[in-house]
Subunit: 561 residues, 2 copies
């Protein structure tokens, strides 16, 4: 039987990756990364530190270059490989990254008059210019449509679809008026590959729509016109041009155009799946399923799990989103996350630059590995970039307590890792308290790959084994899986995501198992973490903290004995 | 008129300094420092990190070498100078630093059988071996003699006289039994110079006795035998050999012996003043008086002021000590302090070693000087070494809040300085709340001399001008003032401390005046500091801290605009 391959395209913040995967076993046979050409590492910046944009030309060039190079690598690694054997394509992107397009679905940024207008670019996920608009949307929704925000933790973020569009309307009306539609790049890129960018043909994906644009089948799709009109009549008018239904990634938006086939050497007409966000397809590539929580741990984390069935589960306070079909069709997808993990460790190494010149991640990790749980007497909160789950509050900051005159950088480094582990445990607990079981935790991403110390601390803090996804490119793998599913069994692909995952995903053999003695100490420390968490992070908490420093000293003394 | 000089001897932790001062104007004409020969920089250590001892031989050698060298320097700097012109000597030492002596008043350490017995040495102020005994003494006093500990902030410290003696009794009974008496080195060194070491002649100083041994005229001197016997009958028995009265430093313990005159070239018979602690005579050398608070700022601080009259003031919660005559005769002396100031800055530079290799005090100070109050969004507690005043709690630790992903070392360095300023303000407020006015603040010590940034922040935080003592050797100068007072007007000295201070002390011309705008921001930050202070430091506080991080961000945003 001829081997069949699927192609995953993973559009990140700074670059795009193409990955060619053997459909039979998930083996990654060719990959290539292309760094975006515009801006600072692909991100167009301005004087406003909240602004972050991308030029859509990078999406076009990126697909061509990365696909060609990945195919070339597959040719070198597999004897007899032909791009004709690629049966389907999946795409994942960052998000919410909406972009204004014209009546034909072409990016406004491609028009001469808008080519240097920042508002005509793609508004990258981490663009925070719409802070005021986000507050306005949250306030209105709480007042007249509380169910809209209950699904996304009670707060509509400045990073999301309508905040950005409303901010454009308020600050750059000429772009807003020229835009026929705003399209998530997760939708636009598959459309570009299949020639379906035209607003009448464009397919919206349920992942972006559900998690970032308050879309739900439970209330007839996107927020109603009346609600949007109260924010701005022009937004209500825009509503009429948004698709009434959004699709899951087991559906194809169309077939690869001849032009794209020619450019890349792939077969024309092979199906391209409905797009989705990187974290969600990353969870698929890590084997997410009911009871399995996938943690994508990099600069921040995205924590994804699913629950089967079509009945919407109860809203969970502090969760970023609960969306039917956003991860696996036929399941509700849950998204939670920590606003900073690797970013906190990077801050300590790159901004504090401790230990003279010797304070690298490697040396701090080596030294921190020799410190026992509780031995430093330190405790930190992991809020240097706010708290996404479960507090949904960006206006929180870091905290470190327990410093003496002898506290070392490695002790602080370990305390920061532990703080992110306590944050991770808080998310797991919230899932379980809310009736979403977590029977398995699978980790992927840079930290999961590169920091055994972090993974062991996560195991010891949570009291759960930490498994690692076999693939180091789970997002691109998840996209490839979508490609294999839309190709279908008749083309050598799969009938559904579960079948594809069974064959194409896996775990590394190394599992980090919790040490009972360490876990016992961490249970005491977590109680103190939770006290600080609630005292500084919630308005409900009432109490006194005189025991905190003394308990840390008591734990330290017991551990040192 | 022939100029007259006074000699101050300042026994520190690592060295002794001799200072020859012109009695007419306080000019320092000769000085010399001798580093102790024993132990690690003068401190004898063991495996027990709480242990810190000194060998009394260093006190003897130190006096000889430092006096001779200081005199030699005076000869070089003043034409026609003769040591015969020195009219009196004063001595200050660390404390509580008690030492066991035999029936003749000779240190047990000088006996062959005890020469390597650590318990027979001087128990240096920072020896903490008596932690358990201190708790025992505190508990008993609270139960049956609450007035004993009310004068010293409610807690009897492991650093103090009876904790050390009781610990010796419990752990090295052979030394305890061989000791006829335990003598503070502040008493023993003047006795050594005057040949009055014999227990029948020995003079106890009220500074050591009052601040560290619960001595007060209000209850017949030292704690009563019944109290001490309940701790240990042998301690009750020792009580009978302690002097019934203690003296102030305007009294001489005797005249310099011929032997010491011969060794040093000074005139035999010149008076040697009753000793006192370094901080207290340092306050004298900085011009302390009613309304003037002297802050001696080094690794830690000692904050000293006085209140006139003989009626004991009300006890002040959280103050280290209130002792009649401990600073100026005829005044109650008040001692407060911060457990770490320079030590916290040193910790950050020497243990964290931030900014690659560039994180020196100088570079961090330069960068921190460019940061506006409130601009960093950081707030710290200055408790890395516990809190002496007003919480009297060694089991407290440091805290830093407000970190983002962009927080820099200079911002943290400044936040640490600000934290010590907030601690300083808390002490000033406690004095004033308690009816002890603070109309002037005079600073001395290494930080006051070397860190204009710290002094400016103290001015801005407290809203008070920060003045700096003219002398950089205020402790030795204070001792020399005591020497000039015991010499008396007929010998060319002074009738009392006030007269001597008027002529021999002064201020530097540079005064750090508060900037109103900076003070306004610091008033907001202090409110948050006080909230954290009370929340983590007291059992009484009840509340919620959800506003802390947000207020810091609000202040930051306002300042940055």
């Amino acid at each position: 039987m001829t081997p069949r391959f699927a192609l995953g395209l993973d559009y990140g913040t700074n670059s795009v990756r193409a990955l060619v995967v053997d459909v039979r076993n998930g083996k990654e046979v060719g990959t290539a990364v292309w760094d975006y050409a515009h801006g600072d590492q692909g991100v167009i910046l301005s004087r406003d530190p909240n602004l972050a944009r991308q030029h859509p030309a990078d999406y076009v060039t990126g697909a061509e270059v990365s696909i060609k190079k990945a195919v070339a690598q597959a040719r070198r690694s597999i004897r007899g490989f032909s791009p004709e054997q690629i049966i389907g394509i999946g795409v994942d992107t960052t998000g919410s990254t909406p972009m204004p397009v014209d009546r034909e679905g072409k990016p406004l940024a491609f028009q001469k008059k808008f080519r240097s207008n920042l508002a005509a670019m793609a508004w990258l996920w981490k663009d925070h210019t719409g802070v005021a608009e986000a507050e306005e949307i949250t306030a209105l929704a709480r007042k007249i449509r509380p169910h809209y925000v209950a699904r996304c933790g009670g707060v509509y973020s400045s990073e999301w679809f309508f905040s950005k569009i409303l901010h454009c309307r308020r600050t750059t009306p000429e772009v807003f008026e020229a835009a026929y539609l705003w399209v998530e790049i997760a939708d636009w890129i598959p459309a570009m590959l299949t020639g379906t960018e035209h607003p009448d043909r464009l397919v919206a994906d349920v992942c972006a729509a559900g998690h970032k644009a308050m879309y739900s089948d439970d209330w007839n799709g996107y927020p109603d016109s009346e609600f949007l009109s109260q924010l701005d009549p022009a937004l209500g008018e825009l509503r009429t041009r948004l698709r009434s239904t959004a699709a899951t990634s087991d559906r194809a938006v169309g077939g690869l155009t001849k032009a794209w086939a020619k450019k890349t050497g792939l077969r024309p007409g092979i199906p391209v799946a409905v797009g989705a966000f990187d974290a969600h397809l990353g969870a698929v590539g890590s084997g997410v399923g009911p009871g399995t929580l996938v943690k994508i741990i990099g600069t921040s984390t995205c924590d994804v799990t699913v629950s089967p069935g079509n009945k919407p589960p109860a809203d969970i306070a502090g969760l970023c989103g609960i969306v039917k079909g956003s991860v696996l069709p036929g399941h509700y997808g849950f998204e939670a996350g920590q606003s900073a993990v690797g970013d906190i460790f990077n801050w300590f190494v790159n901004y504090i630059r401790p230990n003279g010149k010797a304070g690298t991640h490697e040396s701090l990790t080596a030294e921190a590995s020799r410190i026992k749980p509780g031995e430093s007497g330190l405790l930190a909160l992991d809020w240097n970039n706010g708290n996404r789950t479960i507090l949904v509050d960006q206006r929180l900051t870091g905290l470190l307590v327990g410093q003496t005159l002898y506290t070392t950088p490695a002790e602080i480094y370990r305390a920061l890792i532990e703080a992110t582990a306590f944050g991770a445990l808080t998310i797991i607990n919230r899932f379980e308290e809310s009736g979403v079981p977590v029977s398995e935790v699978v980790n992927c991403g840079g930290i999961a790959e590169k920091s055994p110390l972090t993974m062991q601390i996560y195991a010891d803090v949570t009291g759960r084994p930490m498994k690692i996804s076999r693939s180091a490119q789970t997002c691109a793998l998840g996209a490839a899986i979508a490609g294999a599913v839309v190709a279908g069994p008749e083309a050598g692909g799969y009938a559904n995501f579960e079948e594809a995952q069974k064959n194409m995903t896996g775990l590394k053999s190394r599992v980090y198992t919790p040490d009972p003695a360490a876990h016992a100490v961490y249970e005491q420390l977590y109680e103190l973490y939770r006290t600080l968490h609630d005292a500084f992070g919630t308005r409900q908490w009432q109490g006194n903290l005189a025991h905190v420093m003394k308990s840390l000293l008591d734990i330290r003394n017991r551990v040192r004995k």
